[in-house]
Amino acid sequence: MKDMNETELADSQESIHFKNTGASDLFDRAATIQKLLSENGAEISVEEIEAKLKEMTEIFKVPAAEAQRSVTNAFLKKYGISKTKVFAGKGSAVTKKIAEINAMAGMPDAWVNFTGKVIQIWDSTHESIAQAGLVGDETGIIKFTIWSSTEINPLELNKTYDFKNVVVKSWNDKASITLNKAATIAPAAEEIVTVKAGETILSDSKDRTNELRTVAELQQGGIWTDLKANIVQLFEKTHESIAFAGVLGDETGTMRFTVWKTSEIENIEAGKSYLLKNAITKEWNGNIAVEINRAGKVEEIDEEIVAKASVFELCGCAVDIQAGSGLIRRCPECNKVMTKGMCTEHGKVKGKYDLRIKAVFDDGSEAHETIINCELTQKLLNIELADAVMMATETLDPECINDIIKKEFIGKYYVVRGAKTDRYIIVENVERAEPIDANRISQLKDCLMEELDRKNDAEKIENGEIRNDEIRVGENRDIEKDIEEMEELKSSDFEEFEKILNSIEAEDEGIEEDEEIEIEEIKVI
């Protein structure tokens, strides 16, 4: 038993060492808490608060957001400060025009009321976000986000609403509106007719006309185009807001594509040819992909488009190097791989040497068998065929190349592209996978938090701790619930949140940030 404890202890120290908790993040959280406490007459040093947060996150491995909430509440309790009092001030919303709200950028979060017209609704990439888009009034436009936890009815495009008790957040000197459970939205008595900088960017563009281009002509992001292509591959697992994703191609090349659910396109099959209308290109890590959003259409065509090559792509971990890898000999007559100096057809022949890798890449859903040819193998191992022959001769061990291959590949993540045959993927390109995308992590984290929250609410309602209507009804709302909600939002890493929004924005009808500004400037002049 004693042994066990010591080992556990050593373990926890070990993982602390490797956890590399971002100190700046904790420091920011500590500063936020310090400020809040100071405003309420309790002077505690940031260092002391940070130490508490560190203890929570590193020793007890509590997520930082949870730690912040728990430390805040612990101090409030210790100094006898009423939570209701602390947050009550923040709950009194003032009615403002959107221009005034935009002017609040750079200031701490605040509550406001306003009346606005929904001028854009964006495709949501994430189930934690019910809706996001732009609202405007005669003074300006602003981004809004409605969290799924709110149960607010979906807003309709071009309708005017009264927004009450919404939170103004600010990031990178831009303000935006967030709607949490405290918010109420009701149709406005009077419709807003002119939205400043709004109307010109509204039109849904299913009817726009584009040039018909080939895959090879789509070399950059942001091009609106029509495209005739064959669906080469459909990815099995995609995002809940994506209807179809995969690889398409024509005689000039292949590229990735995404069809968003908002396009309302219901049927796309691999192997069939389609005319894509109002597609837009996007650039991701230097690769160009084509997307179909709300403005896009896809029509099956009789014409048979033949994709340049049947390309298959996967990202997975190299989990095995199969027998028949490394230095092999082929029959000079039929090119078949020889075993023990014999060709199955031509018997004992003097074989010619070749290098190849038969690697298995596992993506957690499937184990893909691949064959990497001599040219690629030489490049990947940085060994010429002649050197490999020499090494095998010197060591009298043809397997020695296999050890090098295993050391090099096993356990590492790769992006592999190639032509798929019945069993093997004949590899055309293999590259180490890109480092993990912070966005991917934060989205999943938000999603899990949201699911936990939903569950928590459901349980509380079931246990009679809160009444269902208290969550939504503005006047009777449970202030403590609001506080929690607000803290939740505050503690969710805002930078990551902004990234989610930006990624949503990226799927918007191609209206880039600077375009918006341009329009606004013209109006002002």
Binding site: E14, D25, G364, A367, K406, I410, G411, Y413
Partner: protein, 188 residues
């Protein structure tokens, strides 16, 4: 390719493996592959893990038999390698700790005298890794585990039915586990 089947390397965190004790074979034969069914409904014969090698001990008497501990953000895996895993044993004999490693191996079950089932890993491969691959593994394992939880909550099949019946899992606990793992890699 008829007759050919390779077991997928299942992704699971150490905590989920530690919580697992439902072992079964699909056929009665001695050499039929053995699987562990986990609380979130993963059916695993082979697994892939990437973490920090924290401890190696030679526990063999006479022959070399190594026990290694590999940490992920949620707990610790135990890996055993002896004469039948010669390359892995050689790696462990020379390994320095702490170090990032990746292991591909088979799940093995061991019943203690008091009837508890303890799972460990018999490595096919164990190799040095870098932090980048470890982070990719954590992200991928987080996604796969999340997918399994969602499936277990919304779908039904033989594995999910058996897992729910055997473990009555508290999925919020596993959601918190995933968050914990993600925080460990997103905080640098």
């Amino acid at each position: 390719m008829p007759g050919y089947f390779r077991e997928i390397a299942v992704r699971m965190f150490a905590k989920e493996m530690k919580d697992s004790d439902l072992i079964y074979r699909e056929e009665e034969e001695q050499y039929a592959p053995q699987y562990v069914l986990t609380p979130t409904g993963a059916k695993a014969n082979r697994i892939l893990i990437s973490g920090v090698l924290t401890e190696v001990e030679n526990i063999g008497s006479g022959t070399e038999y190594y026990r290694a501990r590999i940490s992920d953000p949620t707990g610790t895996f135990t890996v055993y390698a002896g004469q039948y895993q010669a390359e892995a044993a050689r790696f462990l004999a020379e390994a320095e700790t702490p170090a990032f490693v990746t292991v591909i191996g088979k799940v093995t079950a061991f019943k203690t005298d008091d009837g508890n089932t303890i799972l460990s890993i018999r490595p096919e491969y164990i190799q040095n890794a870098d932090e980048k691959d470890r982070d990719l593994w954590v992200a991928e394992t987080a996604e796969k585990t999340h997918e399994r939880i969602i499936a277990a909550e919304t779908e039904t099949n033989e594995n999910i039915k058996n897992a729910l019946e055997h473990y009555s899992p508290e999925f919020s606990e596993y959601r918190k586990m995933i968050i914990q793992a993600l925080e460990a890699i997103s905080s640098n």
